[in-house]
Amino acid sequence: MPSFLILSLMLAIPMGAAFAEALTEDVPMQPVQVTERLAVVPRPSWEFGGRDEELRAILLSRGSGSLYVWEAPGATSPAAQLRLVLDGWEGEPDVQIVAGPPVSFDAGPGRSGVRATYAGTFPDVGYPVEGQLAVVEASGTIAVFDAWAGEGEFRAIAGDVAAMIRDVRFSP
């Protein structure tokens, strides 16, 4: 009898969580406010990694995948902003990257987007990465999405990243 009670309690805790997860499955993920005009809706299983008030940015992560999102005030166009970020990286002596050509993509009604893939090494990441830099503009606000993961692992988060870019919320 004591064994049964102990085992029951041990199993009840994760089973209770599974039940609660099933109950909350339809509750939509709550958006994370990046700035007053920009909010990102994380996909399930993504964790909040921190906020940089100065750069007006947030970091989300899942496993070895990360997504850094920030608002670029004063940017003129998505393509120009994309170029600006890539040039900034390429100008840093410790950064070694190879970037693909910028490609426009459908970011949703009333929005324009441009993105480029890249691969290489950054001094603050201890392993080679592959990633995607995407810039989306809506109502005069420009959001930058820098998503990366370890070499060969980006595809595991690509779908989530695309969904978070598609679902990004702009406030006028």
Partner: protein
């Protein structure tokens, strides 16, 4: 129907019945098999994780364990030193550690993640990042560790016969949990390289090692020990209240530690002291009270033996006072040397064992008791001979 006698424990403490030691091996007890099954299952889970650490970063993994050994050894020594009178069987102490290091941590990590997902869904990722650890771990981890102390009790009920026993087993469950959790942190959030392991050791062991799981489960273990050792002299409701209060206090302290308060605002050492010191002081107080109770018990048990050869009244007075015991050892060392001090230590140990034997048997001339008395007597004679050697007849006259 027999009514449990209302003892006079509050005025004149009654010594517990220190019995022959039980071991972990109890094949006729279903709880033993539950323990064995769960340890095997969770052990595989934990070993696979650690094998991955070893394969991916062998040097950092080895350094993690080497550094944690520096933490494990003194904690075990302190716990053993506190458990002076009736030392718990090594197999049960190891079992408590293993429960914390395998079963408690494996089940907790699964449940923490699952409940963390629920919190994320309801509160959002930012709220979850700040509060999930405070909302899940204190309840989940404290329950799984507490179950370890319950399992040890159910395997060897007679081994938890005073409050200190609950503290000892609880602290060891907490230590096992803490050590394995530290390795996960060193190899995960701290980066899993040599620098990360050293940083992790600084943050989690040097700055925080005095507080944490050892204290939490030690405290809740005292509560469980109170519940099971006061069956005859405290009402059920009061025993439940004490046990539950101490478990909830452990959870509350764990919550306070995990809550985001102060971490960003204060330097690390100030924050850890502020968050951990109140519980440490409380546990030190609880342990002192439990030890004082043990000293009273020892006195009661030994006073029955006074003038029967094994112990004198003066020796009982010294044995029941750790300060006087230490001072006497020191004085003996100064007066008669290191060997005499060792002999005195052994005499004290055997006189404490005499108290244990005396509570085990009802017959004052039981063979075990006679044997133990004779051993104490012979040690005392030998000590006396060494401390006061007969005057030498060679070369001294003159």
């Amino acid at each position: 129907m027999t009514v449990a006698p209302q003892t006079t424990a509050r005025r004149a403490p009654v010594a517990p019945r220190w019995r022959y030691q039980r071991r972990l091996w109890a094949p006729r007890n279903a709880v033993f098999w539950l323990f064995a099954g769960l340890v095997a299952l969770a052990g595989v889970f934990t070993l696979v994780d650690h094998a991955l650490f070893v394969m991916s970063a062998p040097a950092a993994s080895a350094l993690s364990w080497a550094l944690l050994a520096l933490y494990i050894v003194p904690v075990v020594l302190v716990v053993r030193a506190l458990d002076l009178y009736e030392r718990e069987p090594t197999s049960l102490m190891v079992a408590a550690f293993v429960w914390g290091a395998t079963v408690a941590i494996a089940f907790s990590s699964i449940a923490n993640v699952a409940w963390g997902d629920v919190i994320t869904r309801l509160g959002g990722v930012e709220f979850s990042a700040e509060w999930s650890a405070a909302m899940t771990a204190p309840v989940i981890e404290e329950i799984y560790k507490y179950l370890g102390v319950i399992v040890i009790y159910l395997i060897a009920r007679t081994e938890i016969d005073d409050l200190m026993d609950g503290f000892v087993f609880g602290a060891l469950v907490g230590l096992g949990f803490s050590v394995v959790e530290d390795v996960y942190y060193f190899m995960g959030p701290f980066g899993g390289d040599i620098t990360g392991v050293l940083q992790g050791f600084w943050v989690r062991v040097i700055a925080s090692g005095l507080y944490g799981h050892v204290l939490y489960t030690g405290l809740s273990g005292i509560g469980l020990a109170y519940f099971v050792t006061h069956r005859d002299d405290r009402p059920f409701a009061r025993r439940v209240l004490v046990a539950l209060s101490l478990l909830l206090l452990a959870m509350a302290a764990h919550f306070f530690w995990n809550a985001p308060w102060f971490w960003a605002e204060l330097p690390l050492l100030v924050a850890t002291t502020l968050k951990g010191m109140p519980l440490l002081l409380f546990v030190v107080l609880a342990v002192r009270l439990a030890r004082r109770r043990e000293h009273r018990w020892l006195r009661v048990a030994l006073e029955r033996e006074v003038d029967r050869g094994g112990v004198s009244q003066a020796e009982v007075d010294v044995l029941a006072d750790p300060g006087r015991r230490k001072a006497l050892r020191k004085a003996t060392r100064r007066a008669a040397g290191k060997d005499a001090e060792r002999l005195l230590s052994r005499l004290h140990r055997e006189q404490i064992n005499l108290a244990m034997v005396a509570t085990r048997v009802d017959d004052p001339v039981a063979p075990d008791l006679l044997k133990q008395r004779a051993l104490c007597e012979s040690l005392r004679t030998e000590l006396h001979r060494r401390s006061f050697p007969p005057p030498s007849t060679e070369g001294s006259a003159g």
